[in-house]
Amino acid sequence: MKTELSTLLDDELEAYRHQSLLTALRNDTELRATMANYLLIGDALRGIPDLTTNLTASVMARLDKEPTLLAPPARRSAGLLRDMAALAASLTGVAVVAWLALSPPASPTLVPPVAQAKKPDVIATSERMQEYLMAHQAYAPSSRIQGGASYIRTISASR
């Protein structure tokens, strides 16, 4: 499993094996610790000073919120990703790393305390939740103020 993890972080793991690895990550604390270490090493390589204390939990919380993220590899925020690619070739294209790198360290919503304490939920995959988000947005005053742009919340959670 550790080899697979390493391959994944190198962005060389075949897509069909992503799901089983993710499931393993969800259930295996030791594997999560390993991933945290790999990521920390990656951070150190790239000279990112903000090494949060509970990286595993934060990674897992984010992973679980968007479990489809690893397949296919994300291409968002190309600029930053490109910079990262230059800095750490071994870690390019890995969405988890991109996510960490893109996350403003001060943001309090990254690791909701409750999600951190409990086993995080696989919410983004739930289609019902997607529907609910859309319905919520349709009635929220924010769509009256912002127009359709507020719907980005709905589809932003759907990756």
Binding site: K65, T109, D121, V122, E127, E131, H136, S142, G148, S156
Partner: protein
């Protein structure tokens, strides 16, 4: 008596600027609401919350037939959202899914808004900030600071000419932005072809899995469920019955709002393996709780504690 009068006059003088600020702020908010639904525009905006930053294109067209809108995400996996008045279609090509949400009755915006706007000042301190430039447009900044910890504050950048909202940030209790939308390029007015507002997936999506949800207004949920906790400022906007076409499942949807923030409560039959507890999707928090044979899903762009307060107070009415 004289002293009392002097105090009263002083008090009036001091409170006037605040009052005026509020009026001014509300006036700008009113402009925003009108502009958002009356103007034709097309532009690119960035959306950023905790872990996500991505760019999208939006086109908004108002015709005799109503409002049409297209939202395309330009980064990451392609996703599209098309709105034609009260029907919203969400195209998710990666999972070959099309979600269609349709509302039966149209609640017109003007009817809903003035009431909620006027009550806003009770729960938010509203003041005018300086002018700023966003996507080449001169904008007026308006601050809406929450007066309690039940809701988030907001900061709005409003186009001085058109009233269109150019940028908005949701602020937490430490005054940090937890979510920001900002136009990076925007063209207001001009000709927009109806063709531009069609999804590029319109044809191929006929082969996708289609989740169609139909909702209609009714008081169905109210007779069965009781809300023991009232959140100051939050009023119930609507109560709906939702029906998913594919599997025929029904659920209730109730919306509460203080005029700016909204909380949705969904009540459905308890699934076999329900996922419970609190999670957050960007600035939107979700609290799920099992009550007997039902699952309560409470979500909204409010702090987690607010959702928990409301959610924990929901129970079936005793017969």
């Amino acid at each position: 008596m004289k002293r009392y009068l002097a105090c009263a006059v002083c008090g009036l003088c001091l409170s006037l600027p605040v009052q005026a600020q509020q009026q001014d702020g509300l006036y700008w908010l009113g402009r925003v609401v009108t502009a958002a639904h009356k103007l034709n525009y097309t532009g690119t905006f960035s959306y950023r919350n905790g872990g996500i930053e991505e760019t999208s294109r939006i086109t908004h067209l108002v015709q005799a037939g109503g409002e049409h809108e297209r939202l395309e995400v330009l980064d990451g996996s392609p996703r599209e959202l098309i709105r034609n008045n009260d029907e919203v279609k969400c195209y998710l090509p990666d999972s070959h899914t099309l979600i269609i949400d349709k509302r039966a009755h149209r609640r017109s915006f003007p009817a809903l808004l003035p009431a909620s706007l006027s009550g806003l000042a009770e729960y938010y301190s509203i003041r005018k900030g300086p002018m700023d430039r966003v996507a080449e447009h001169e904008s007026q900044i308006i601050f809406l600071e929450s007066r309690d910890d039940l809701r988030y504050g907001q900061q709005l950048w409003i186009d001085a000419n058109s009233g269109l909202l150019l940028k908005i940030s949701l602020m937490n209790e430490r005054n940090q932005a937890i979510e920001t939308f900002a136009f990076t390029q925007l063209q207001i007015g001009g000709t927009i072809e109806r063709e531009v507002l069609k999804s590029r997936y319109a044809a191929q999506s006929s082969k996708w899995r289609i989740q169609q949800v139909h909702s209609s207004e009714g008081r169905t949920g109210d007779g069965i469920w009781q809300f023991n906790v009232e959140l100051p400022g939050f009023r119930k906007l609507t109560s709906l019955k939702r029906q998913t076409h594919s599997d025929g499942t029904e659920s209730f949807h109730m919306v509460f709002s203080d005029g700016l923030a909204a909380i949705s409560v969904f009540i459905e039959a308890l699934p076999e393996k329900p996922e419970l507890g609190m999670v957050s999707m960007g600035a939107i928090n979700v609290y799920r709780r099992a009550v007997g044979e039902h699952l309560l899903v409470v979500m909204g762009e409010v702090p987690q504690a607010t959702l928990k307060k409301l959610g924990d107070g929901i129970e079936p009415k005793k017969k």
